[in-house]
């Protein structure tokens, strides 16, 4: 699964990056986010598209596994 690292970027950029990455890899991606706002926005965006999202917390960041 392709991994997209959005650390350091603030919203809405992680959502736009996720949108582009999902267009290229519609089967799913892993997205690393480093703030709660981005975590919730990316999760909400992917869920609205019908993906399931699993979040795993790391040190100061989350990895969101977005899959069908």
């Amino acid at each position: 699964m392709r991994t997209l690292d959005t650390s350091g970027y603030s919203c809405p950029e992680p959502v736009i990056m996720t949108k582009k990455a999902l267009k290229e890899s519609p089967e799913g991606i892993a997205v690393i986010v480093d703030n709660r706002a981005s975590k919730e926005n990316v999760t909400r965006y992917a869920s609205a598209l019908g993906y399931s999202v699993e979040a795993a917390e790391g040190s100061g960041c989350w990895t969101l596994r977005i899959s069908r």
């Binding site: 650390s7 350091g8 970027y9 603030s10 809405p12 709660r36 609205a48």
Partner: protein
């Protein structure tokens, strides 16, 4: 999750709309329970950064918003010192956003409160705001980015909220250091405790929900997401109901509190605010909240707004209530929009070449 978020945003919006009406009844100027732009401007005046005698007061609402957001982010683990994403560009964008807001006479939050009071000039402002956000979204969709922020020290993150504490202590202990208006909007204010308390509540609620006036419209354009806009709608609904209940609702363009009916300049002023807010990643309220959460970049935007407010009054760029902007203000808004467009185009072009 979406419905829960919307619920929280609606409650936050209702708190802000209701608190704004109460602050107005307690002494704040008409339709100005909260106005981030006006209150930063008044604070700049109190600090002698400009000397427009009618807009000088260290607004406790601003200090409360910063401290409320700082405290709740520290408690909930969202206080993350970070910075280094084009700080000088952010300062300049903040500067232009403030000029646009002071030509319209209000930040996006006050625009919604003005709408709730029946001021139709704010509807013209809203159209400009939507246009500015739409232009910003075109740049975002084409790769606009102010760049990555990096982690910063705790001291760097705490510097901005600590400055707000220092300002408030000095305001209480040595008021003679500050300038205070004796007439005009700066002289009209709710008691300090009520203003601070309302600010604290708004700071906490806006931090938890990430309420943003620009973000709601932006998310509709970008990803067809209607979550953030619910906060915007709730503020409007609460202030509308509050104004009707308080007997202060008057619909029309003429003789609205601290406003002017120059449609073109209301439109262009808020266009600058909308475009600049999208470039910064949030409206002036959201910049205050992010700065309180440890973002040096948003702190730079707030400092830019403060400098912009000082310039707006030192160089006669701000509109006068009733009559609108003079020639300086008109030139400044147009120049500001051109600078924003040039900066957004330049950054987008660079990012596309990198990609």
């Amino acid at each position: 999750m979406g419905i829960r978020d919307k619920g929280k945003l609606c409650i936050t919006g209702a708190i802000i709309g209701a608190a704004a009406v109460v602050l107005t009844l307690l002494g704040n100027p008409g339709n100005m329970g909260f106005c981030i732009a006006c209150f930063i401007r008044d604070t700049a005046g109190a600090l002698h950064l400009h000397t427009a005698p009618i807009v000088e007061y260290a607004r406790p609402e601003i200090i409360g918003i910063i401290l409320g957001a700082f405290a709740i982010s520290a408690v909930r683990g969202d206080f993350r010192p970070r910075g280094g994403s084009s700080p000088v560009l952010r300062f300049i964008i903040g500067f232009i956003v403030m000029i646009g807001a002071l030509v319209f006479l209000g930040c996006p939050l006050r625009m919604v409160l003005r709408l709730g009071g029946g001021d139709l000039n704010a509807l013209v402002g809203l159209l400009g705001f939507i246009a500015g956000i739409g232009i910003g979204c075109i740049f975002l969709n084409n790769g606009f980015s102010l760049g990555k922020a990096g982690r910063q020290s705790g001291l760097e993150g705490a510097a901005f909220p600590s400055s707000a504490v220092l300002l408030f202590v000095l305001f209480l202990a040595f008021p003679s250091l500050f300038l205070f208006s004796e007439s005009g909007p700066g002289s009209m204010h709710a008691p300090v405790a009520a203003a601070l308390g309302a600010g604290l509540a708004v700071g906490v609620a806006a931090e938890r929900t990430r309420l943003c006036m620009a973000g709601g419209i932006r998310d509709i354009f970008l990803v067809r997401d209607f979550t953030l806009i619910s906060g915007f709608a709730a503020i409007f609904a609460a202030s509308l109901i509050g104004n009707i209940a308080a007997g202060s609702f008057r619909i029309g363009f003429a003789d609205q509190p601290i406003s002017h009916p120059m449609h073109l300049w209301n439109f262009l002023g808020m266009l600058a605010v909308g475009l600049g807010s999208v470039m910064l990643g949030g409206c002036p309220l959201r910049q205050l909240i992010l700065a309180a959460e440890g973002s040096s970049d948003s702190a730079m935007a707030v400092l830019g707004m403060m400098a912009g407010a000082a310039a707006a009054h030192n160089f006669s760029l701000a509109s006068s209530a009733g009559t609108g902007p003079g020639i300086n203000g008109k030139i400044a808004v147009v120049a500001g929009i051109i600078i924003l467009l040039a900066a957004a185009a330049g950054v987008t072009y660079r990012e596309r070449r990198k990609a």
